[in-house]
Symmetry: C2
Subunit: 674 residues, 2 copies
């Protein structure tokens, strides 16, 4: 291991690439806007959805701001003004990421419906453009913000250690906003979705997104605030968290190995994310170019776009490693991350599409109970391979470089976030386009095309979830080891009952947190059910399509539910490390972080995969088994509804929770031992 | 801490007390048999159930014996002949405990039905007599067997350390049999129960246990092989495991503290269990005496019988501690165990009876999906308090005596097993009595009385489950620390990625194991559904009550399903420590044990409480909300059916799994480092 970089690549390329990314996005957004929205019905619906989403986000931020202000001030008092400002930047960029994504999604949804009237390819192109704006914005902002929080603060503070504290504040800002965005958005969208389905599909027997259902609009607004804005903030947080963990551990790695250039290993992290951003941009361009020809199916385009960028990143990480460190160890750790992310994604894909889904569909023949049991069992089995992969990745990445290697693997998993999030975010846009088609009474072929895009989105999203879960586990472990170092805990012995007690308490958090979220969705959905039933009963002619429904009452219910229920679960996560520290000491907090990471990872995987499997079992029955309205279809709708809050509210929030607990501990608790 | 006992109590009292217990049981069994079964219809059904249960157990043992033989021979080769014999005794006593319990239960069930024709009190008395046989047999055999495996082998081997190895073999025998009994019995009973309900109650609209339903008999046989024989072996295993862990840690405690009498702390364990057995006997006698008068409700009798024995045990443990050690530390650890067991039980009782159940019932109004979500959320919330109690108990019990204190707390929790299991085991007998009443067409009042006994059993069982789960967690942690000692691991550092990787893999085991069990129940239940539908369709006049059903076909399906599916999950548990050891080393096995213990405890609590809450929500709706046949009742039947395999198959098996992994590791892995 040399004490200086063998080759010094200009670091300025990193911010330059993120600016290129943002410029690309601006061009793409303009090209979307240039497509005229020349259909009055679609225009009106789109505006309503856009207004609903904007209103909700504004109210969500209104609840969020005081909390951010308090935490920011405390952080500034404890860790210094720069850390406080860094926190504000992290929170602000996170909000921005979600907001821009939502703006673009509500711009692209109606235009995708219009494009679907022309052809499948045109619709794919429009939806993918919208998704790409999101993917590239999130990763460009992530690279720029992390660079700023590390090297920007370094230029002010002149101490890498202080800069790392400030960067931790930045990451905490991102995590805090992401948690609220995911939780609030998740409650909003699933309460509307579940409520709309329970009365509309099950009781009244009208299709999804039917204009007669007053909750249909709220459901479509929900897709934008939950699946788009929530997901944007979420992945921004994951990306930034992985980079931060690698920054901290890279710095300590250099120090411990006596490398004179203390920032050598930190710079490598930025070379990797910059390269990943570049390959993502190239992949997006390639997919857009090739989608004009008919030679490639949409599925293979999206898949090979993602895989191509991953392969390129691996190919680049190894020579970069050789250049920076003089050996391939760092590149190997990145490769471990990329490969294991793909493996976890493939496992998720298997459990949400192949044999397990067919088994659930078959079990639906004997009713809702066996459908639920079969989905639970599939979800529980689905954690085995991903966790085995995470364990193997942990050991492989650690072997060469210690905890720095584990953090690098986490960065590698999210390295090509630009393209993988583009593919992910295209899903809700296609979903929305389908909703708009139904709400405006388009020809069946239009809905068929958007359904085709949507179901493709479900499969590709599984891969994205694999990356998110895997990187959350690795990042969280890396932050856990940083915490131990910051608290002077060279050893955390599990034969010490304080550590074990902390682990038990940490393991409880994901259960408690999920319970609060599931209950929030359930309670809000029940109000929604009551309101939809009321409108069906009290508005004469509504079910016959002779009178209009009142969507605003439903929007109000989702909004109130989300705002009311989003704070307590977040407080559980924020308060846990403090309470544990003051009651049981720092060893117990160490156990807490580990327990929460392990159980949160498992429960998150379980919920995501069980939910996805139930959803696809329902679709399988609609497509090729009993069909809509059959007894097995009714059973499968129960499973799908149960899975909704698991896969879209509780599951993804767990990834954020485990990192938030870690960064909160890392930012605040070392103050008490000083 | 004195180096010798202050007061030496005669140890011979311990085996004497267990012989007194067995004699008491013999007398009680004779008194049950003396009640004539003078009703031809009841006699025939009882004989059919008895034959079904006996046949199944015989076939279960036939599968089990070769596995036991292989493990026993390996153990004899590795740890010596005495350890192998000790293993055989452990397995044999465990089989005996289940078998005797089942014999008595199938003797008391029909007699309880007959007694319910006279009065509620008479029925309670009969059912409780049956349950008491089980409770006292299990605890007497447990005390006698443990005493034999410790002091009996000591008299042969003349080395406490070798005797402890032999005692570990004994405990492993008990765990292995218990796992098969719980898993096999659990699959049998729940496949029959779910299958019978899905077609009978939901499709055909006939009541539970209706003679027209061909699966009714299999369902009642299942109660005996699963809830009685399975539970007997299960609690025998828990009791024995807790005693063994305290033996090992007591011995090392004395060694580490330079106490000249190395067995001082081991003897204290036996004084405690002997005292607990004595108080249990007294409590059983008291309940039986007082149940003849009408001044006490059955509920308060059972509750105060259990609580009285616990209070007496606490009151005895403190002076015993003073006598043996000269201080109150050991008694305090026992008290911590008793108190925390009660607290966990109360928490379980709350979540399976009070507000959470009412919320689930309310959620059923908007359908099966919200019923499921509400139950999931209640189950997830229900783990918070028990785990906080376990964490507190861990720290409190450790404070005075280190890991020995934790093991003593585990013993304390199960100290009054004799009475608490009597109360527990009375439940399935009452349930069976109700089934027989329905199958033989008794007057409604008979069924009402047995229902009343049954629902009381559900509530008191919650307390028993609290003891079982809490003691499993503490015992498993104590065994984990014994394992670390045996493997020369003074420190198990969670900053070591091997430990973390092991923890991840250990956490997966409860998920994987549960998935296999849920799937086994689901698949077998689907075959049952097909068979019941076939009989309804093909036997003319069956649904009109004009023709008899063919219960043997259903019994055969449950039997085949249980035997087919019980082996793979057990193998997962047995193989895991070996695979982990050879792939990743002893540190990873340490992580594996801890991960399995933490996640297994949480998942076990979740499943038990969610299942109990769904069950009672259904009963609440039947009693005081919509009533049978209403829409919310249909929704609640789905929840109850989903909960069945969770609370009666997977959940209780997890307690056994986490201990089996520990004893397997403790018995075999030290051989590889020698």
């Amino acid at each position: 291991m040399p004490s200086q970089a063998v080759v010094v690549y200009p670091l300025i390329l990193v911010p330059v690439l993120s600016i290129v990314g943002l410029l690309f996005v601006a061009v793409l957004a303009r090209s979307i806007a240039r497509h005229p929205l020349d259909n009055e019905a679609i225009l009106q619906i789109t505006l309503t959805i856009h207004r609903g989403a904007t209103t909700f986000l504004a109210r969500e931020y209104a609840v969020l701001f005081p909390i951010l202000a308090v935490v920011g001030v405390l952080l500034a008092l404890g860790d210094g003004l720069v850390a406080g400002l860094s926190f504000v930047v992290g929170a602000g960029f996170s909000i921005l990421a979600g907001y821009v994504g939502m703006q673009i999604a509500t711009m692209a949804n109606g235009r995708t419906t219009l494009a679907a009237r022309r052809s499948l390819g045109a619709a794919l192109n429009m939806a993918f453009s919208g998704g790409s704006v999101m993917g590239i914005v999130v990763s460009s902002l992530g690279v720029a913000g992390s660079f700023l929080s590390m090297f920007g603060t370094l230029s002010i503070l002149h101490s890498p250690e202080k800069a790392l504290v400030a960067a931790t504040g930045y990451s905490m800002g991102a995590s805090l906003v992401a948690l609220f965005a995911r939780v609030g958005g998740g409650i909003y969208t699933k309460a509307a979705d579940v409520g709309a389905d329970l009365v509309g599909k099950v009781e009244a027997g009208i299709p999804e997104d039917d204009p007669r259902n007053p909750a249909s609009i709220a459901d479509n607004v929900g897709d934008n605030v939950g699946d788009v804005a929530g997901m944007g903030a979420d992945l921004y947080e994951s990306y930034v968290g992985a980079i931060l963990a690698a920054d901290i551990l890279g710095y300590w790695f250099a120090r411990q190995h006596g490398i004179a250039d203390a920032l050598l290993a930190v710079r490598y992290v930025y070379y990797i994310v910059a390269a990943g951003l570049m390959f993502s941009l190239m992949a997006v361009l390639l997919v857009k170019l090739l989608s004009r020809s008919d030679r490639f199916s949409p599925e293979s385009l999206l898949r090979y776009g993602s895989i191509g960028a991953s392969v390129a990143l691996v190919a680049a990480s190894l020579p970069l490693s050789l250049g920076v460190f003089g050996d391939m160890k760092a590149g190997s750790a990145v490769t471990v991350g990329v490969v294991s992310g793909v493996l976890i994604g493939l496992a998720s894909e298997y459990f949400t599409s192949s044999r397990p889904v067919a088994q659930i569909a078959l079990a639906s023949k004997s009713g809702a109970a066996t459908n639920i049991l079969s989905g639970m069992s599939a979800g529980m089995r689905s954690v085995v391979i991903p966790v085995a992969v995470i364990s193997a990745a942990l050991l492989a990445a650690y072997a060469g470089l210690g905890m720095y290697g584990i953090a690098l693997a986490g960065v590698g998993m999210l390295g090509t976030l630009g393209i993988s999030l583009s593919v992910d975010a295209y899903g809700p846009i296609a979903d929305n386009a389908g909703g708009i088609a139904e709400l405006t009474g388009q020809l069946p072929v239009v809905r068929e095309r958007t359904d085709q895009l949507d179901s493709l989105g479900n499969t590709t999203a599984a891969m994205g979830k694999g990356f998110a879960v895997g990187s959350a586990a690795l990042t969280s472990l890396a932050l856990f080891s940083s915490f131990a170092q910051a608290m002077n805990l060279p050893v955390l012995n599990v034969l010490d009952p304080r550590v074990v007690a902390g682990m038990f308490l940490g393991s409880v958090l994901p259960f408690w947190f999920s319970a609060l979220l599931i209950e929030a969705v359930g309670s809000t959905a029940m109000l929604m059910v009551a309101e939809v039933r009321r409108q069906f009963r009290e508005i004469p002619g509504l079910l016959q399509g002779l009178a209009a429904s009142d969507p605003n009452a439903c929007i109000a219910i989702s909004t109130r539910g989300a705002l009311k229920y989003m704070v307590p679960p977040a407080l559980v996560g924020i308060a846990a490390p403090f309470v544990t520290y003051f009651l049981l000491g720092k060893e117990a907090v160490g156990g807490l972080l580990l327990g929460a990471t392990v159980t949160g990872t498992l429960l998150g995987l379980y919920m995501a995969n069980a939910g996805g499997a139930w959803d696809n079992a329902k679709k399988l029955i609609e497509r090729s088994l009993g069909g809509k309205g059959s007894l097995e279809h009714q059973a499968s709708v129960v499973g799908d509804t149960v899975g909704d809050p698991l896969k879209d509210t509780a599951g993804p929030s767990l990834n954020i929770l485990i990192k938030l607990i870690s960064v909160v501990s890392l930012s605040f608790l070392p103050l008490f031992i000083k």
